[in-house]
């Protein structure tokens, strides 16, 4: 009798595996989104970039009231923790005093869109189911999020065949050269939320910062005339860069998966050629043209960044 039940179990597993393989990539990504929102998991992963590995712990749970609790902490170096209780996300970082923002997404190494509505990526990306391999000792399905044009990088995701959880992620250039990896090293899925996330109930989160809407939507005296199709403006403001105290005018664009920041400020220098720096997949471009310093930051290829920077024009002052 026991043997029979094993056989039935094996059959059902292999049957479901066959069924899963024929499913389109979008279904896989939708299942990943559900898993990231609904499952109680505690997991570890490393971000591998610039020949360095940064280890993280990530806990997620849903309490009895259906509230999502989440902890993401960097394990090396100074403490960097992100705590989330439902709609409040708190950032604890060495650069700033702890603060909270009202949001449902934590902003960490894993793109927050993966736990959101994946269909908003469809204008700019294709979802391709590629094949199976073994990741973290589990059978995994490789799903590629490929950009429709050459202005963006591709994201490759390896998802657990059983839980649809993320097991590995790579950011790859259009030519297939890997830039950054996230490799999960441990994954525990439990029925009940773990002790560590339930402790969040007792934790008092830092004060919520209130950013007036007008601040994030200021009129600036310049235009960005070219961006890859699919990028939308998230905000535009004037602020000081915290490390250099340099006042800048700033715009943030996003296509859902990739964020691109554009900084414009007056410079003491008259002219300086474009200089690039790379942090894994994140590119920083800095150039000075006719006394105007322009910087572009984001996970985009250098050609795209250069094209964006060159497309910026200063609005002529209004005639009174």
């Amino acid at each position: 009798m026991k043997l029979l039940s094993y056989v039935v179990l094996l059959l059902s597993i292999s049957f479901s595996a066959v069924a899963e393989e024929s499913e389109p990539a979008k279904v896989w990504l939708e299942r990943l989104s559900v898993s990231l929102n609904k499952l109680n998991f505690s997991t570890s992963f490393v971000v591998v970039k610039n020949n360095q590995a940064q280890p993280y712990h990530w806990f997620h749970g849903v309490d009895d009231n259906g509230k999502e609790l989440e902890i993401l902490s960097l394990l090396n170096g100074p403490r960097r923790d992100i705590l989330r209780k439902g709609d409040v996300v708190s950032y604890i970082e060495p650069e700033l005093p702890p603060y909270s923002v009202s949001s449902q997404k934590i902003s960490g190494p894993i793109p927050s869109i993966l736990s959101g509505d994946i269909s908003q990526l469809e204008t700019s990306y294709d979802f391709i189911s590629v094949g199976r391999s073994r990741i973290l000792g589990r059978p995994a399905q490789l799903i590629r999020i490929e950009a429709k044009n050459a202005h963006r990088h591709a994201y490759w995701l390896w998802l657990d065949q059983h839980s649809s959880m993320l097991l590995k992620m790579s950011i790859v250039t259009k030519q297939g050269q890997p830039l950054e990896h996230i490799q999960f090293t441990h994954l525990d899925i439990t029925d009940k939320p773990s002790e560590s996330v339930l402790q969040l109930h007792e934790t008092e989160l830092p004060v919520l910062v209130d950013i007036p809407e007008e601040y994030q939507q200021q009129q600036l005296q310049w235009n960005v005339n070219w961006l890859p199709v699919g990028f939308k403006q998230i905000n535009s403001n004037r602020h000081k860069i915290s490390l250099t105290k340099q006042p800048v005018e700033f715009m943030l664009f996003s296509d859902g998966l990739v964020d691109v920041s554009i900084y414009v400020n007056a410079s003491e220098e008259k002219q300086r050629n474009a200089d690039f720096a790379k942090d894994g997949a994140t590119l920083v471009l800095n150039q000075v043209n006719e006394g105007i310093e322009v910087s572009v930051v984001g996970k985009i290829p250098s050609n795209t960044a250069k094209k964006i920077a060159d497309s910026i024009t200063i609005k002529p002052p209004k005639v009174p």
Binding site: S107, D259, S261
Partner: protein, 207 residues
């Protein structure tokens, strides 16, 4: 005698000659017949044709054959000639090599002197301004009055640029954290700037 020896040797080596005369000679000459035997044994060993029992004996035979070989195949006189030749080559090559080193050193000295001379020329004409095309693409004046950016200030500029990159990166991350709240609140209002973008799709999907 030596000619017939060569014949036998070659016949043994390529296993081709079936001349009665050579066979007779080999049989009559004890030395040749043993050599012939050995060569066949060696051939058998190489082809793995030898029976197992023979193997111990065979090693001795091969050792003997190898010991005998130089007298047949490589006369000693030849070796001596090669050695002499080698010695002469070394003798000739040594002075040539030293001469080459000396010549290149002299060349370097000449170059050094020339560059010194050219530097001296510049001091003769202090007001001279030479236009050069630097890497940055903008022509910079070069003269005694003009202060060339030295290594230290270049290093300073490099550090400054690295600092700028670092600041931009951390600010980018910071702004994403703050920016995500407006997205979720669905308060994103298209600004006039965005309308100039070449994307109609972006507008549609946002509405």
């Amino acid at each position: 005698m030596s000619e017939s020896k060569f014949e036998t040797v070659s016949s043994c080596v390529d296993n081709f000659q079936h001349n009665e005369h050579t066979f007779d000679e080999i049989i009559n000459d004890e030395h040749l017949s043993t050599t012939w035997d050995r060569y066949h044994l060696i051939g058998d060993v190489l082809r793995n044709d030898t029976p197992d029992i023979l193997q111990l004996d065979l090693s001795q035979e091969i050792a003997k054959a190898i010991a005998d070989e130089p007298t047949v195949l490589a006369p000693k006189t030849n070796n001596v000639f090669v050695l002499k030749l080698k010695a002469k080559v070394v003798e000739f090559a040594k002075p040539f090599g030293q001469l080459a080193i000396a010549a290149s050193a002299a060349g370097l000295m000449v170059l050094g002197v020339q560059s010194n001379v050219s530097q001296n020329n510049e001091t003769i004409l202090p007001s001279q301004i030479v236009k050069t095309i630097p890497m940055a693409g903008i022509a910079e004046p070069v003269s005694l009055n003009f202060q060339q950016p030295d290594v230290a200030s270049q290093k300073q500029a490099f550090i400054e640029q690295q600092r700028r990159f670092h600041a931009l990166l951390s600010d980018h991350k910071q702004q994403i954290k703050l920016g995500s709240l407006t997205v979720n609140a669905n308060k994103v209002d298209e600004q006039s700037e965005i309308n100039s973008l070449d994307t109609n799709k972006a507008n549609e999907s946002n509405k």
